[in-house]
């Protein structure tokens, strides 16, 4: 069986996408069974290597030969990266936990229903069955649901390299389209999501069922503190990264009408133009979505 170009053979023992279907440029393939092994490989190989999680974004790029890593490091057999650790205040989700596993987790649905709601917008069941939460965050698509959710819920991620681990707030993670602050030798190992949110909701508009959002909004609310009104509005698909709509949050906190909040949101973005929607539409779409979510959060004036 041939799976990944000439040099790929040695380490392959299985091939999930069947025989003869893919045509990436040659690469070497490693499948470490521990985090240390993976981090060592990354440290040695640097830029030349790329981790592969669910492959739902990376494999198409390999097949188009848009990504040409010399070595693929498969994270699929590292037990430490999978599973959910539950505490009263947070969920700690291993980076390699499959999106579908999270979607079907009833406890999560009870405690953080917005996560299931968000996942239902991610592609189709087949894609979520392979796609991982860490892969989605590391891939950092500006139209993806999970990065926006992480930003809205003040999630943090744990990042590891041979040099040690660090914690990065979602607000610092996304630098640009498909770009995070991770160094080439770092792995995203865990996502910590606080459960302090009383209400949270996600709404989006996509061309077809299962498509990436043309525009989307995550809204969340928790009790105000002295320095935080406890309201989050994050737009996705409307800029180069998920964006916090801070003016709209402030307008909402100040008891502004849904229309005022929506206008503040639309004014606060610098939307992109692409073949699926123009920038003017993205403002309109965002305005409509913010109006809806203001209702769902129960804070509309």
């Amino acid at each position: 069986m041939r799976c990944g170009g000439r040099a790929a053979r040695p380490a392959w023992t299985g091939c999930w996408w069947g025989e003869d279907v893919v045509k990436p440029a040659p690469f070497r393939y490693l499948r470490p069974t521990s985090l240390d092994e993976a981090l060592d490989a990354l440290a040695t190989l640097g830029d030349e290597a790329k981790p592969i999680a669910g492959g739902q974004s990376l494999v198409p790029m390999l097949n188009f030969r848009l990504a040409r890593p010399g070595v693929l490091i498969d994270l699929g057999r590292i037990p430490a990266l999978t599973g959910v650790h539950r505490t009263d205040g947070s969920l700690r989700i291993g980076a390699m936990t499959r999106q579908r596993v999270l979607e079907l987790d009833q406890d999560i649905a009870d405690r953080l229903p917005v996560l299931r709601a968000a996942l239902r917008h991610v592609g189709h069941v087949q894609i979520r069955t392979r796609g991982t939460i860490g892969g989605s965050l590391a891939h950092a698509d500006a139209a993806a649901e999970l990065p926006a959710l992480a930003l809205a819920l003040d999630a943090t991620v744990e990042v590891a390299s041979v040099a040690g681990t660090r914690t990065v707030a979602a607000a610092d993670l996304f630098l640009g389209p498909w770009t995070t602050c991770l160094a080439p030798d770092e792995l995203l190992t865990r996502v910590d999501v606080p459960l302090a949110w009383q209400r949270a909701a996600i709404v989006e508009l996509a061309r077809r069922h299962g498509d990436f959002a043309l525009a989307g909004v995550v809204g969340a609310r928790r009790p105000a503190t002295t320095d935080d009104a406890g309201i989050r509005l994050v737009g996705f698909g409307v800029g180069w990264t998920p964006v916090r709509l801070t003016e709209a949050e402030a307008a909402l906190a100040a008891g502004g009408s849904a229309e005022v909040v929506a206008d503040a949101a639309a004014a606060g973005i610098d939307p992109i133009d692409d073949i699926h929607a123009d920038a003017a539409w993205r403002r309109d779409g965002l305005r409509a979505l913010v109006t809806r979510i203001a209702d769902q959060l129960g804070v509309a004036a």
């Binding site: 061309r207 077809r208 699926h276 003017a280």
Partner: protein
């Protein structure tokens, strides 16, 4: 188990498709399933530029790459003849299987690499170094029409591959003296996008070329291979196997269908090429890229007395066989639709541009003109203060008008044009009421009326092939009936259809019939499947063959039963004496005489049990007459589509709530199969109306080359669909049959556009272009003060 007696007629037989168990359980056999010992794989090097002169193609590094067997450029294949330019009055493109001196679109084949496997071939293909001298790009139809536009073909005076300029001073006078309503309507470039991409496997077997290809026209492919490679046809065998969708895109013969056989012939080894999806976007035909300037002349009663149009079609580079101009001729010829407009005129200009060649796609030019005409009717209604439903009603062909000849010579023999519309109106009114409570935005209803030409004379399109179809029927020694036909099915249930025809026309049980298709060694020369023709022409051919075969069965059975041949009938596979059903013999007994105890045959009877029927359609023109009139099809099915939509004004999102297709295809041989055709067609129509587009930038670079950007509708995008069959037999076809392959797709863009405008009628928004997207609706709403939102605030 039905079978019944051979009858003068045919009856509906709504049985499940016999090919489905095979196709649905993975037992089908597509080109990609062909595996031969020692098979090599090919990868094509394709032009990265939209327009360039080829200075040199350096293949040295690729040849030296691991596993590479051969690398060929256009120059290496210069002994392969160009594709023939057969169509009259179309400028020649002299298409080369591999480009020799010029590339005219991104994706044009420059070279081919053959290696031990596809990976190695792809790796080596990257090493081929083409030295291309960039030429100015003609990116769209306006650029092509501009004076002094860069030329794609240096020996042409301009970029018009076809230009017709009918002159009619009387018509001009009519337009000068009447109220004129005009509009410009555009349909975007999109295409068939079958689930199975193309693919070719070729090998040499005992001195003959054996070619598997995913095509709708196996014999036509054989002829083109013969002419380009200079081989006699008998030394070529083309096999289509199962074809995973074609929708017109596979009625063209493509460069790879010549190059891969040429490679197998040279290398004397099997060679395989399977198109990947990205290649499909670049290298398989595009379609539907047209702009129509339409005008209607309206008299003081509000009646339309004439329509005329200036139609422009962007056919891409034009390097395709048969030429991509043909659908545009059908658009022009369909300018009056099913309406009694006394006069019409269509000027047609087809231009070449630096994009993938365009060609056939389900509907073949009809969806474009139906969209334009049905939108124009709405505008006429508005500008003359009429109810659009009433306007249509008054102009539709009525039963008493039939047979009806359109001003440009289409002879419409039969149909239910007005009744289909009335049914749609009744449905739409109740459906709108039923669904109104579920609407989240503004609800609207839209209609489209049209006729769909069935079984065209292909000569006007191809310049060579015309309209015959041939079937052979053979009774084997065990009594099995084998039908062989040159049709090229692509998933539409043709095997079931042929078995049903043979079963009913001979009088044998359905499961006693075997079908042979898609193999030029097993089938008589046929033109393949396109133009909603298969059932109609097959019925003509099988009818003839069955009549001849029955005569022989009667003679032999009469001899066995000591009765007169004229007293024998074949019922359920048994030949029996009319009036005494207990005196009968089975087909196997008849065959026993015909093949084995030939000495017992009645004197003068030839051994064997086989007959061939070749059907030539009556009354169909192969070229326009002196007045430019052309009746290009054997008959015309009619249809009305209606849909109910819900438009969210804040976001411009259109939700399709319900869709109706009233469809009249005459006698329905298998209503279930027709339903399937309509459902699939409607889904494709929705794709064209709302989602699918093949965009290019100003340099002719394609912006859409994967399913991430080319949005084909899935099940969630298809609404509740109602299919309402009317059944007006044709007077010109065998058994009154009409085709049903294409019509499902044709009316959808027009109906949806009309419904969206109806939902937004208070704004006066007038959609003139597909696809209708959230952005396009919002842009229109932003440009028009929205009464609803202004009220609300």
């Amino acid at each position: 188990m039905s079978g019944g007696a051979a009858t003068a007629g045919l009856v509906a037989d709504p049985r499940p498709r016999r090919e489905d168990p095979r196709l649905l359980t993975g037992q089908g056999s597509y080109v990609a399933d062909v595996r031969l010992p020692g098979m090599l794989e090919a990868a094509f090097v394709r032009s990265p530029l939209a327009h360039a002169r080829i200075r040199a193609v350096d293949t040295d590094a690729a040849r030296a790459a691991p596993g590479v067997i051969a690398v060929l450029t256009g120059a290496d294949l210069s002994d392969v003849e160009p594709f023939p330019d057969l169509r009259e009055r179309t400028r020649p493109v002299r298409q080369r299987a591999l480009c020799i001196d010029r590339v005219r679109y991104v994706g044009a084949p420059l070279a081919v690499v053959v290696a031990e496997d596809r990976y190695l071939a792809e790796d080596a293909a990257e090493l081929v170094d083409a030295d291309l001298e960039e030429l100015p790009v003609v990116a769209d139809m306006d650029a092509a029409l501009a004076p002094g536009a860069p030329l794609l073909y240096d020996d042409w005076p301009d970029d018009r591959i076809v230009a017709t300029a009918p002159v009619d001073p009387e018509l001009d006078a009519i337009f000068e003296t009447h109220q004129v309503v005009r509009g410009t309507y555009r349909m975007q470039r999109h295409t068939a996008m079958p689930m199975e991409t193309r693919g070719v496997v070729a090998t040499v077997e005992r001195g003959r070329l054996l070619v598997w290809t995913s095509t709708q026209v196996p014999h036509v492919v054989r002829t083109v291979i013969a002419r380009t490679l200079g081989l006699p046809e008998h030394r070529i065998r083309v096999v289509a196997g199962d074809v995973g969708g074609g929708f017109g895109s596979k009625l063209h013969v493509y460069p790879e269908e010549v190059v891969i056989p040429a490679l197998a012939w040279r290398l004397r080894r099997p060679v395989r090429w399977i198109e990947d999806r990205r290649e499909h976007f670049l290298a398989s035909s595009h379609a539907r890229h047209q702009r129509h300037d339409l005008e209607a002349a309206v008299d003081e009663r509000g009646d339309i007395v004439a329509v005329r149009g200036d139609l422009v079609c962007d056919v891409g580079s034009g390097e395709i066989l048969p030429p991509g101009v043909a659908p545009a001729f059908v658009s022009a010829g369909s300018i009056t639709g099913p309406y009694r407009f006394p006069r019409s005129q269509a000027r047609l200009t087809c231009v070449v541009t630096n994009k993938t060649p365009s060609g056939a796609y389900r509907g073949f030019g009809t969806p474009e003109i139906v969209f334009a005409l049905e939108r124009l009717l709405e505008r006429v209604a508005r500008e003359t203060g009429q109810d659009p439903v009433e306007l249509r009603r008054r102009h539709l062909i009525r039963p008493e008008d039939l047979p009806y000849e359109t001003p440009n010579g289409r002879r419409i023999d039969s149909g239910s044009h007005l009744e289909a519309f009335e049914r749609a109106v009744a449905w739409a009114e109740t459906t709108r009421e039923r669904l109104a409570p579920t609407a989240r935005g503004s609800i609207g209803v839209g209609y489209a009326n049209y006729i769909e030409g069935v079984s065209p004379n292909y000569h006007a399109t191809s310049g060579l092939w015309a309209q015959q179809e041939t079937s052979t029927l053979r009774i084997e020694p065990d009594g099995t009936v084998v039908v062989a036909s040159g049709l090229g099915p692509m998933g539409q249930g043709t095997e079931t259809m042929l078995a049903t025809l043979a079963s009913q026309l001979l009088g044998v049980p359905h499961d006693q019939v075997e079908v042979r298709l898609g193999d030029t060694d097993l089938s008589p020369y046929g033109l393949g499947s396109f133009g909603s023709r298969s059932t109609v022409v097959a019925a003509g051919a099988v009818q003839l063959a069955a009549g001849r075969l029955l005569d022989k069965v009667r003679t032999i059975a009469g001899h066995l039963l000591e009765a007169s041949a004229t007293d024998i009938e074949l019922v359920d596979g048994r030949a029996r004496v009319v009036g005494s059903p207990d005196r009968s013999v089975g087909l196997a007994e008849v065959a026993h005489l015909a093949y084995f105890r030939t000495f017992d045959l009645p004197p003068g009877t030839e051994p064997g049990l086989e007959a061939t029927g070749a059907y030539e359609q009556p009354g169909v023109d192969h070229r326009p007459n002196a007045q430019g009139k052309l009746n290009i099809c054997l008959t015309y099915a009619n249809s009305t589509h209606a849909c109910v939509v819900d438009v969210d004004r804040a976001t411009g999102v259109v939700r399709l709530l319900a869709h109706l297709a009233v469809h009249d295809a005459g006698l329905l041989l298998n209503p279930q199969v027709v339903d399937g055709q309509i459902m699939g067609g409607v889904a494709q129509g929705i794709g064209g109306a709302l989602y699918e587009q093949l965009l290019h930038d100003a340099d002719g670079q394609p912006l859409v080359t994967s399913f991430m950007d080319y949005l084909v509708p899935g099940a969630p995008e298809v609404p509740e669909l109602t299919i309402d069959h009317l059944s007006t037999p044709s007077t010109t076809t065998p058994f009154g049959l009409k085709g049903a392959g294409e019509a499902g797709a044709t009316g959808v863009p027009a109906a949806i556009a009309n419904a969206v405008c109806d939902a937004l009628r208070d704004t006066g928004i007038d959609i003139t272009q597909t696809p209708i997207t959230p952005s396009s609706i919002r842009a229109a709403l932003r440009a028009t003060p929205d009464p609803t939102t202004t009220e609300g605030s």
